[in-house]
Every structure is written in structure tokens, then in C-alpha cells.
């Protein structure tokens, strides 16, 4: 009996031990174990917010995030046996080599075998694989066996894709660690969004399941940026620029197109030559490269004088033979003037350096600072304060500056040397002229949207309400139109619309050589606006260091302007006047065939067309369309002679010809254009006549 109790006692002790242990785990160590379980199966995981897109003004996608993949291989995957590996390795190598074209089949084969022997579980096969390529990779031999047998490891990252490739690339910009640029950098805070976080539990299959949690933070996607860029104009501008840079074998060039009233930059292109002779967007010259502008500055110089009431467009200036010196410094015109006495207007039209500098020094040599103050009042010495970084520093010297030479600096400043200004700053000035004196800030981004909903819009910012008086503006228009009508910009004259603008050619001082003749570098530019009477767009085109020898602004940069303006003008509906309406309903007098007068009268009366008979009651008449109606004149017929059937229908023609005893052959249809026997010639019976209808 006692044995039974012994067994019972053992079992009882055992049971109590279990209960004690349960109690301990549950209550004493409970918190520790629970938290440990949680940390293995539940986690606060961050939810990535997607970065906003950048759109053009018409809604085309300029930049967006797309996944890109790094393809790696686990060469020691559990299911990857020697048998499977050896069977597939050759065909896999072949496929990889064909798809990526970077290594030969043998190289892939060798690398893969070597890495397998080395036990690499994370061998990089290819970086930055696009989605479409990845789909192919997944179907390759070995890889199609799945993760555990085939060892394919795919890692996804997001990169920014620019669907239009290099279009406005530099302005759209990139985010990178060193010096991020463009809209992408300037609006990073908006585009970025905020990632969220959420408590999640791991369930079978490595899937994370969200748990209800009050701390959950929803991710907020980045805002979309709507730029002012018009893809079509941008495309036209970029390709026009590239064509002409190539043609002139230039080092670099840039183009910007701005909407006059709003300051919207609808196109901006910057191209520079790469060592292998292609052109790429590498630097935002339009906004960043402040250089000596050359002749495009002459407009500002004249406007300063005109606005101060000093210079009159019709006063004359003696340019001699286009050569003179200021304190020994030679100044000459690029083309010898046709006559030695020019009006100010002519000096501007032909871009005479001597003429402009002479007229400016005539009035300002004693008050040099007044002239400079005037230029500064045009905003030419101020940064524009753009939405994107990197704007070049403009500079207009002051007469008290150390590098101001009282004898030389004034004349050279007046023709655009000894000053610095970026292409966009020049464009903003000309745009202000086109906009009747109102200077607006160039703008790249017009709206910020979140899932299509407007968050913020950027209205047009007025920098200066009126840079000069209205009467000065009128003169500026006159000057710029004259340049194109009969000056250095005649290449832009065309029958469809008027352009106003100014050519500019500047020698660029080289850091090493200064203005030394044998190392001359030129900058050819054209800046202007169109259509001249109601300006819609202003454009600047600058080509640097054209090396083919044709370096004049009118010859190098004006064609770029023209190509863009032509295409924009021909495709923009709102730039056109409607066709004058022509009343085709009431006054219309139709063409009529010649024929029998009675029949014609009847037909015309039926059609309500006025019939004017000038042939009395002749039975056969010619019919011509007059202003008031069909005019009918008699057509005489003579017996025995070939009748005139020109202009008649086939029925009348055959009737007349056969009645006079001819045999008729007919070609074509319509009314008679030709008859093989001349009217009035004598008929021989049974003679043949061929009539051609058309």
C-alpha cells in the first residue's frame, strides 16, 4: 500500500512543481518574458513617405521617384546544391552577359564560381537595375528557382527619374550630399514629406501586420511642385541651343525664355561641351554665370541718358572711322561705320562702341556717379532673389571704387565692360522693358500641391514698378525694334511677327591672358522679346567662346532666338489674330461653263446667280465670273469652220462638233481645256477632233 502512496506523493510533488513554475513564469518573471516575446514578434516600424513629384506647367512629369534595384546573389543559399549550381551556371552566365553587356559569359562564369568557392552569400551582380530588366533577371535560369534554391537577392531603393532626361535637368536639380542643386534642393523641405511609424507584428511568412496602436503616426507624402516650365518650349529651346552650339563648335551656351507679364521661366537650357564632344547640362549658366555682357548693356546706358533728359535719339555723334582712344586705350567698332556722323538711334542699331561711349561720356564724364546710380536704379546691381540657389553676383562699379578709372571706366561701362551680370539678370531687365517698365522677378515654381490640392501658389513678384518713365519706355521699344528692322538683328526680320531685341558680343577676359588678342574668347548673345507690339515672351540666348570664328551676336545667337521664336509663334494660338472673315455666302459668284445661253440662263436663275448678258440673244456664249454675276459674251459659230468649244461641258461640245460634221474623241472629264483643231479652221467632212477635258 505504501508504494501507492509513494507514487502518489511523487506525482503530487511533480504537479506542485509545475504549478509553482507556471506561477513564477506568469507572475514573477512575467514582464520580462512578455517583453521579450514582443520584441521578437512586434516592432515599431517606420512607414516610408513617398517624395513629391515635380511637374511642368502643363502637368507633364519632370521628376518622380521610381524604384531601382540592386541584384545580388546568395551563392551559399540552402537549396543551392552543387548539382543545381553546375547544371545552370553556364546558361545563367550567358543570360547575364547578354542583358547587362558589361562582362563576357566566361567572366561571369568565372566570377560566380570563384565567389561560390569563397562562400560569398551577398555577391553583387549588378547595381541600378531597372524594373523591366529585373523582370527578365527573375526569369533567368537558377534565379527562377526562387530565393532559397536560386539565391537571388533583390534590394530596392528609390531614385529620382527624369522622364524627359536632360530637359531642364540642371534647373530641376538633384539631391546629393555635396552641393545639391536646383528645384529639387530648394524645395526639398516640401518634396520630402514625413515618414510615419506604426506598431506591427510579425506573422508567418515574414509579413508584418499592423496592430492597433494609439501612437500610430501616419506618413505624410511629399508635396508636388508645379514648375513654370513648358515642356514643348523647353524642348524647342534645348534642341535649338544644341544645334547651334554644335554648328559653332562652342564651349557652352544657355537659353532662357520668360513670360513677359508673369516672369514665369517657361524654358531654361544650359549646355556645355564634354570632352567627348557631346553637350550636357552641367552648370546653370543662365542664373550663375555673371560675366561682362557687352553690347546688350548699351540699352541701359542710353535709357539712363534718355530718362535723365540728356540724350536725344536724333542727335548726332561723330564716330569717325570707328576707332578712337580714351587715355590711350583703343576702342573700336566691330564693323567700320558706313558714315562718320551717326544719330544716336543709328549708333545703337549698328551697335557702335565708339558712338555709344561717346554720347555717354559727352553727358556724364563730369558726373560719373550719376550714370552709375541710374544703372543701379534699373536693378542691374541687385540679385534677383531667385527661388533656386546659385545666382551669380552682378556688379556695377561705383566711381569711388578702387578699380574705377575716371578716364577709361565710364566709356567701357557704357558698352558693357567692367560690369558683371548674369544672363537671367539681363533678361529680367529686357523683360521689364517689354513689360512697359515693370520689372518682375523670374520664377521657376508657380505652385505647391498636395495630392492635387493647392497648398501654396507663388504670385508674380514685382521688383520695380517702373524702372523708367513711360516716354523712355516708348523710346526703348523704338530702339529695339530698329535693331531688328534694319540694324544688327536683321536676321530676325520675318513677315509673320515682329521681334525687338539687341545683339551683344563681348570679349571675355581670360584669367591668364586678359584681353590679349591671340587668346580671345567671345561671348555672343541676343536678348529680346516678341511679338514686338504685344510682347508675350522675352528670350535670351548666349553662346560662349564660339571657336569657329563667327563670333558676332547677330550671327551666332540670333539664330537660336529665331528658331525658338518661330516655333513658339507658329504653335501658340493666343499669339495670333483671327482670320478676317470673308463673306462667302452672299456675294459668291461661281465659275460657269460656256454653253447655250438659254440653258445657262435657266440654270443660273435656278441657283439665284445673277446672269449678265452681253451677247444679245446669241445662242452660244462664253461665261466668266464677274463681281456682280456671270457675264455672258457671244461666241460666234460659222458653218464649215471648227466651232470654239473651250470651256464648254461635254454635252454642248459634242453637240456642236458633231453637228458641224466632225468625229469627236474625248479624254478626261470636266470642261473642255483643249481642242486638237483650232477654232475657225475649215472642216473636211469626217475629220477627227480630240477634245481634252479637265
Amino acid at each position: 500500500m505504501w508504494r501507492i502512496y509513494l507514487v502518489f506523493a511523487c506525482f503530487l510533488l511533480f504537479g506542485i512543481a509545475i504549478l509553482v513554475q507556471i506561477f513564477r513564469i506568469q507572475f514573477v518573471e512575467g514582464d520580462y518574458w512578455r517583453s521579450k516575446a514582443d520584441s521578437l514578434t512586434t516592432q515599431i516600424r517606420s512607414i516610408e513617405a513617398s517624395r513629391g513629384n515635380i511637374f511642368s506647367s502643363d502637368g507633364s512629369l519632370l521628376a518622380t521617384s521610381v524604384p531601382i534595384y540592386d541584384v545580388r546573389m546568395d551563392l551559399r543559399a540552402d537549396g543551392l546544391t552543387d548539382e543545381i549550381f553546375n547544371k545552370n551556371i553556364d546558361s545563367l552566365s550567358l543570360c547575364l552577359s547578354q542583358l547587362f553587356q558589361d562582362k563576357s559569359k566566361a567572366e561571369y562564369n568565372h566570377d560566380l564560381r570563384q565567389e561560390r568557392n569563397g562562400g560569398n552569400r551577398y555577391f553583387l551582380i549588378q547595381k541600378n537595375v531597372h524594373y523591366a530588366e529585373l523582370q527578365k533577371v527573375k526569369k533567368f535560369p537558377l534565379f527562377r528557382l526562387g530565393k532559397y534554391k536560386g539565391g537571388l537577392v533583390v534590394e530596392q531603393r528609390n531614385i529620382r527619374e527624369l522622364p524627359f532626361k536632360e530637359l531642364a535637368q540642371r534647373t530641376i536639380g538633384t539631391l546629393r550630399d555635396v552641393k545639391p542643386v536646383g528645384i529639387e534642393a530648394a524645395f526639398d523641405g516640401n518634396l520630402q514629406g514625413a515618414s510615419g511609424s506604426r506598431l506591427m507584428q510579425r506573422i508567418a511568412g515574414g509579413v508584418w501586420m499592423p496592430l492597433n496602436d494609439k501612437e500610430e503616426v501616419e506618413p505624410k507624402d511629399g508635396n508636388d511642385i508645379i514648375t513654370t516650365i513648358d515642356v514643348n518650349i523647353q524642348d524647342v529651346a534645348e534642341s535649338a541651343l544644341e544645334n547651334h552650339l554644335r554648328k559653332n563648335n562652342a564651349d557652352h551656351g544657355c537659353v532662357a525664355v520668360m513670360e513677359v507679364a508673369t516672369g514665369n521661366i517657361v524654358a531654361i537650357a544650359n549646355l556645355s561641351k564634354t570632352p567627348n564632344d557631346t553637350y550636357e547640362e552641367n552648370f546653370n549658366y543662365v542664373i550663375a554665370e555673371a560675366t561682362e555682357p557687352g553690347s546688350t548693356m548699351k540699352l541701359a546706358s542710353l535709357l539712363a541718358g534718355i530718362d535723365d533728359g540728356l540724350i536725344d535719339l536724333d542727335e548726332t555723334v561723330d564716330v569717325g572711322n570707328g576707332y578712337m582712344t580714351y587715355c590711350g586705350q583703343p576702342m573700336k567698332d566691330s564693323h567700320a561705320p558706313r558714315k562718320s556722323k551717326l544719330t544716336v538711334r543709328e549708333a545703337f542699331m549698328t551697335s557702335s562702341n565708339v558712338g555709344i561711349s561717346k554720347i555717354v561720356t559727352r553727358y556724364y564724364s563730369k558726373h560719373q556717379q550719376d550714370f552709375l546710380d541710374k544703372l543701379v536704379s534699373f536693378g542691374l546691381n541687385d540679385k534677383l532673389g531667385l527661388q533656386i540657389e546659385g545666382e551669380g553676383d552682378p556688379r556695377i562699379k561705383g566711381s569711388k571704387d578702387k578699380d574705377w578709372n575716371p578716364c577709361v571706366s565710364l566709356p567701357w561701362t557704357s558698352i558693357g565692360y567692367e560690369v558683371k551680370i548674369s544672363p537671367l539678370q539681363t533678361l529680367a531687365f529686357y523683360n521689364a522693358i517689354a513689360n512697359n517698365g515693370r520689372m518682375v522677378k523670374p520664377k521657376f515654381v508657380k505652385e505647391i500641391r498636395y495630392h492635387g490640392q493647392l497648398i501654396k501658389s507663388f504670385p508674380t513678384e514685382v521688383l520695380r514698378d517702373s524702372i523708367v518713365s513711360p516716354s523712355t519706355i516708348a523710346k526703348a521699344h523704338e530702339l529695339l525694334e530698329a535693331v531688328v528692322d534694319s540694324g544688327t538683328g536683321v536676321a530676325l526680320r520675318n513677315p509673320h511677327y515682329r521681334v525687338a531685341g539687341k545683339t551683344g558680343t563681348a570679349q571675355i577676359a581670360q584669367p591668364k591672358y586678359g584681353y590679349d588678342k591671340s587668346h580671345r574668347t567671345y561671348q555672343a548673345s541676343f536678348v529680346g522679346y516678341f511679338p514686338a507690339d504685344h510682347p508675350k515672351y522675352s528670350i535670351i540666348a548666349v553662346v560662349y567662346a564660339p571657336s569657329t570664328g563667327v563670333y558676332v551676336g547677330g550671327a551666332v545667337s540670333a539664330p537660336i532666338f529665331k528658331e525658338i521664336a518661330d516655333k513658339v509663334f507658329s504653335s501658340e494660338m493666343e499669339l495670333h489674330n483671327e482670320l478676317a472673315s470673308v463673306d462667302t455666302l452672299h456675294k459668291y459668284v461661281p465659275e460657269s461653263k460656256a454653253g447655250n445661253q438659254k440653258d445657262l440662263n435657266k440654270a443660273l436663275a435656278h441657283l439665284n446667280v445673277n446672269a449678265i448678258s452681253k451677247g444679245g440673244d446669241a445662242s452660244w456664249v462664253s461665261a466668266t465670273a464677274g463681281d456682280a454675276g456671270i457675264v455672258m459674251t457671244e461666241r460666234k459659230t460659222q458653218t464649215g469652220a471648227v466651232p470654239n468649244v473651250l470651256g464648254m461641258g461635254i454635252r454642248d461640245a459634242i453637240y456642236l462638233l458633231e453637228n458641224s460634221g466632225l468625229q469627236v474623241r474625248v479624254n478626261g472629264k470636266g470642261s473642255v481645256r483643249k481642242q486638237s483643231l483650232d477654232p475657225g479652221t475649215k472642216i473636211q467632212r469626217g475629220q477627227k477632233i480630240v477634245i481634252e477635258l479637265g
Binding site: 507633364s60 512629369l61 518622380t64 521610381v66 524604384p67 531597372h130 524594373y131 523591366a132 527619374e161 527624369l162 522622364p163 524627359f164 532626361k165 530637359l167 506573422i203 508567418a204 511568412g205 509579413v207 501586420m209 499592423p210 515642356v231 514643348n232 524642348d235 524647342v236 534645348e238 534642341s239 509673320h496 511677327y497 518661330d566 516655333k567 509663334f569 507658329s570 504653335s571 494660338m573 499669339l575 495670333h576 489674330n577 483671327e578 482670320l579
Partner: protein
């Protein structure tokens, strides 16, 4: 007593089933999300290819061999006056 226990059992079964159903839905959501991501990537890469090829300059290049050039003739604009309502 018995019906109550039965009721609880049914409730527990339903609860378990429901949680499995939820997990399955989440898996589906995940795989659909991945699909969506891939489809989006495909959409963007194909549509960007399309956008690139339909650019005016690319089209001009493509048809240059056929000797078709871009027109610089301005378009003609015809405005249709809205018809005056007939009041009889």
C-alpha cells in the same frame, strides 16, 4: 450551462477563423502593394519613354529621313461666333 459553453466554443472558433482571415488579407494587401509598386515603376518607365519619343524634337528627328520638316508658318485662327438664339 451546456448551450452557454457551446456558444463560447462557437465564438472562439469564429474568433480564430477571423484572425486567420485577417492575416490572409494582410498578406494579400502586401503582395498587391508590391505589384502596385512594380506596375507604377513599369508605368513610369514606359510613359517616360513615350514622353521622350513624342517630344517635338525627337519626332522631328524621326521624320527627317522622310523629308518632313516642322512648319514655321503660323497657324490660322478661325473663331466661330456663337450662334444667335432664334426667338420666334
Amino acid at each position: 450551462m451546456m448551450p452557454y459553453i457551446l456558444f463560447l466554443t462557437v465564438l472562439i472558433l469564429f474568433y480564430i477563423g477571423n484572425s486567420y482571415y485577417a492575416e490572409r488579407t494582410i498578406r494579400e494587401i502586401n503582395s498587391v502593394k508590391n505589384d502596385l509598386k512594380e506596375k507604377r515603376a513599369e508605368f513610369i518607365s514606359t510613359s517616360s519613354e513615350l514622353m521622350f519619343r513624342t517630344k517635338q524634337s525627337e519626332v522631328a528627328k524621326a521624320i527627317a529621313p522622310m523629308e518632313i520638316k516642322e512648319s514655321t508658318e503660323p497657324q490660322k485662327k478661325i473663331t466661330v461666333a456663337t450662334a444667335v438664339e432664334n426667338k420666334d
